[in-house]
Structures are given as C-alpha cells and as structure tokens.
Amino acid sequence: MKDSLRQSMALLHTWAGLLFGWLLFAVFATGTAAYFESEITRWMQPEIVGSSDPLTAAEQAVDYLGQTAPDADSWIITLPNSRSATTQLFWSPSEEEGKTYSSAILAPDGKEVSARETSGGYFLYRFHFDLHYMPVIWARYLVGLAAMFMLVAILSGVITHKKIFADFFTLRFGKGQRSWLDAHNVTAVLALPFHLMITFTGLVTLATMYMPWGIAANYTAPQTFFESLFSSAPEVPRTGEKTPLAPVDAMMRQAAAHWDGAMPGSVTITNPGDSSASVTLKSSSEDAIGVRGEVLRFDGASGQLVQPAQAKGPALETESVMIGLHAGRFADWGLRWLYFISGLGGTIMVGSGLVMWTAKRRTRLPDPQRPHFGFRLVERLNIAAIAGLGAGIATYFLANRLLPLGMEQRADWEINSMFLAWSAIGLWGAIRPVRRAWVETLGITAALFLAIVPVDALTTSRGLLASLMAGDWAYVGFDIVMLLLAAGFGFAARKASGAKRSTSARKTYRTPERTPA
C-alpha cells in the first residue's frame, strides 16, 4: 500500500514536472534575476550616476510635473530608494491618443533621464509572469497553471523521495543518473521551505485573477471591489479655483514621523494645482514585509492630514504579507542575496529534474542509438530551455551595451535580441548530435556571459576595475555574477563533454571505491 502510493506519486511527480518544466525553468530563472531588478536596471543605464534622496526627488518631481502636465487628473510619483536612483512619474490623462497615461523617469539631478533606452531589469521581472510576444492575460493563465503544477510536483516529490533525511547531505559526482538525482534532491530539499513559499505566494499574487468567483458573486464589477479595498482618493471634479500645492516635503516628514522615520515610497497627487487637490503618501515597500503598505492622505491645498492610516483586515493583511514574501522588496542586501541563491537553487532543481527525465530513460531505451520521438523531443527542448535561456539573458545584457545608442525602438530590440539568441541556441541544439549539442550550447552560453565583463569595460567607463576602485558595488556585483554564471555554464559544458565516458563507465558503477591512499 505504502509503496503503491509512492509509485503513483512518483508518476505524478515525473509528468507534472515535465509538462511545465521548461516554462517553470524560465519563470524561476527570470524571477530570480528580478530580485536584483533595480540593480540590473542601474547596470543597463550606465549614464545614470549618483543617488537621490526621497525629499529632493519629490520636490523635483512636483516641479517637473507642474511644468509638463499641470492639468492632469493625477500624478503618480514613485520615489527613489536605497537601491534605485531614479524617480518614476506617471500622469493621466495622457496627451497622446490611445494611451491612458504618460510616463517619465527623472535622474538624480531632477531632469528627465537621457540615458539609453532600455527596459532593464523590469523586463526580466515582467517576463516571469507576463512572458512576451503574447497577450498578457494568456501568459498569466499559463504561468499560473505552471505554478499549480509546480505545487503538485513539490508535494508529490516529497512523498516520492525515499530517503529524505538519509540523503539530506548526499551529492555524489560522476555516477550518471544517480548524480542527477542527488543534485535534484539536494537543491530541492535544502531549500524546500523557499520553494513551497515562492510557488504558493506566486499564485497568491494573481489569486483574484485565477479565482475570480468570490468577487464575481459579491460585486457588480471587479473594479468596484478593488476600489473599495484599495481606497485611492475619491474622484472629485476640479473646482477650477487655482491653488498652489502645499509643500510636499512637509507632508513627507509628517508621514515619516508616523512610520518610525521611514520615508514614503510613492506620492499620488490628484487634481494638482486646484483647491480640491489631494496628496496620498504610501509607505515604501522596503520598510515592511507586507507589500500593500500604509497610506496617509493629505489635503493638497492646506497640507493637513485628512485620512490617517487605516488598519487592514486580516485577509488583506495576509495577502499583503504573502505577496511581500514573494517579491522580497523588504529585504536588505544580505537577505536579498539569500533570496537570489535560493532562487538559483530552484532553477537548478527544475533544470536537473528535466535532465533527469532523459538520464533515467536513456539506459532503458530499446535502441539507444535511435531513441523514440518523445525522448528526442524532451532532450532537445531541455537544451533549448536551459542553455537557450542562459544565452538569451546574456545576449540581452550584451545587446544593451552593443546596440547603437540612437537606434529606433532600442529597448524592444534588446528584448528581440534575447529571443533571437534563445531561438538560435534552440535550433543549434536541435540539429547537432545530442552530446555535441549540449557541450556546444553550454559552451556558447558560458562564452556569452564571460564576454559581458570585457564588453562592459570597453563600451562604458564603468567596467569591473573602475567600479571596484570607485566602490560601486551594484556594478561590481553584477560583473562578478556574470563571471560566476560563465564559470557555471563552462563547468556544465565540461561535464557534458565528459559524460560520454561515464556512459560506458556506468556498468562499472558498483565497483568498490578506490581505497584512500
């Protein structure tokens, strides 16, 4: 009975994991990169230097918007924080037709950013649940489905694992299929709480989309639900009475006094320049685990606090903390690295699981020289997913440095470059003999990551050495991670080239170990 449960769970684990494994690998990898979204964006806009404090930035933003969009219904200002130096502005309605809002990014000097056009780390963040080249809504359903399969795979995987404690620390190299199983187990088990948390909370981030029925049963339109929950300032018509905005920095100081000295993360101003103006300050996502921070509202004309912070209900508080745990915006740099490393572990877990599907079946093929179609398909898709995505991300960074600065739709072309490289590797992996395909594609990916460091040093004044001297840790960290990724893919390529020998050596798998000299 017990064994049959384990067997059926093993079956479930194998196929639930395989079906969405390739997508999950991409989601895990880009989601992990998104923990350093701001740092990646900083790296991808080397023109922007220096840092900015929220008070000055807010003042600059209000000045800028007062000149650019004095008649807008609302201004939304996302302030810089310890990780990002820029201020993001949105305002509506937009001057342009067909757009609901306009946006701008201000550099620390308060002028509009004149850096190269790029989507930066934001693209990797969005890709991990919106994918690309497809309607966002489909992508989110697809990623949600994948996350549910992931949850099933995690739970069935725990039941399937025969010796979860005995093999806790076990990783043996050079033993073919056994080594893959060890690697899969070690990456999965040792960060199991993280994997469970990230998968579940990932689903929670889009829960109202995946399970809309609760809202549908109680509200006429979903919008009513969100409005009643996340009360933004009520929409009031402009009075037409021109009134200058009270100083925002005074309101921010007052808010900081409410929040143990922490500055707000964003400022929303409705009806700016009017006597009905209202200013809403939201606490920064850096200051609490919960992502739905506290809100204080001020009267725009007098600067008086009109709506003190309201406590959230337990359900909303839970949701807020879960999304916060997923996104990790509250994490200081130490915890951020732990998040990143755990995410890498998850990526390796998914990747090693995919490879194991083939490793396990290769020895049992009726004719190993000519595997059946399904086997070949999985084998080739694995190459495309693992080496291909790596090469794609490396190319995305390289394109950022190498595409002409004045290029039309430059940001889009950076993204296109990523998918072109990804497809090219997929194609290369599909037509070459499979062993060579692994070695070559992993080797190319390693070379691409390695190339980033010298290319950065040659095309900007912020290369690894210069950044090291300047103590610019975001840049140093980025370059070092690129070198480590190059080393990792290079190591994998070397292992893949040696794998030929271990296929013939697999029969001698049980020979006694050499006695230590």
Binding site: A166, F168, F169, T170, L171, R172, F173, V186, L190, A191, P193, F194, M197, I289, V321, L325, F330, A331, G334, L335, L338, Y339, I341, S342, G345, E513, R514, P516
Partner: protein, 92 residues
Amino acid sequence: MIHLLAIVLSLVGFAALALAMKRHQREVIGRALTDKERHLTRSAGALAIAASLAVAMAAFGAGYGAVAWFGYMSVAAWIVVAALCWHARLKS
C-alpha cells in the same frame, strides 16, 4: 554582520547534524561515532541552528528574522554538501 554570524551558526549546526550521520562519519573521520557522541553532536547541531534563529529574530524582529533564517539554513546546508563533495574528491 548579523547575517554572517547567523549563517556561521547555521553552518556549524548543519555540519554537526551531518557528522551525526553514519554515512558521513565514515567519510570524514573514518570511524563511526559512539551512541553518546552521536547524540551529543546531534543536540549541539540542533542547538546551533536554533541559536541562528534566535540571533536573527533578536536582530531583525520575529517576521524578518524567520524569513532570513530559512535563507541561512538553505545556504548553510548547501555549503555542508559542497564541503563533503570537496572532501570526497580530495580523498579519492
């Protein structure tokens, strides 16, 4: 700095837990520990890991400390795995 201290505590803890296992005893010290030694090692390991949580919670508060603690444990356990791998390679 607190992060570092807490990781070291977790690391000591998981290293002790690994040493309390027969398989790794043979690999690392070449003999099996006595029952008494094994119990002692295991308790010390559990204690060090608990201390890591205590340090994190005292420094960062209960919520933040608990989140960080899971991170410390994963990283520490992976370091132990890597060290055992490295040790096995040196020996062969």
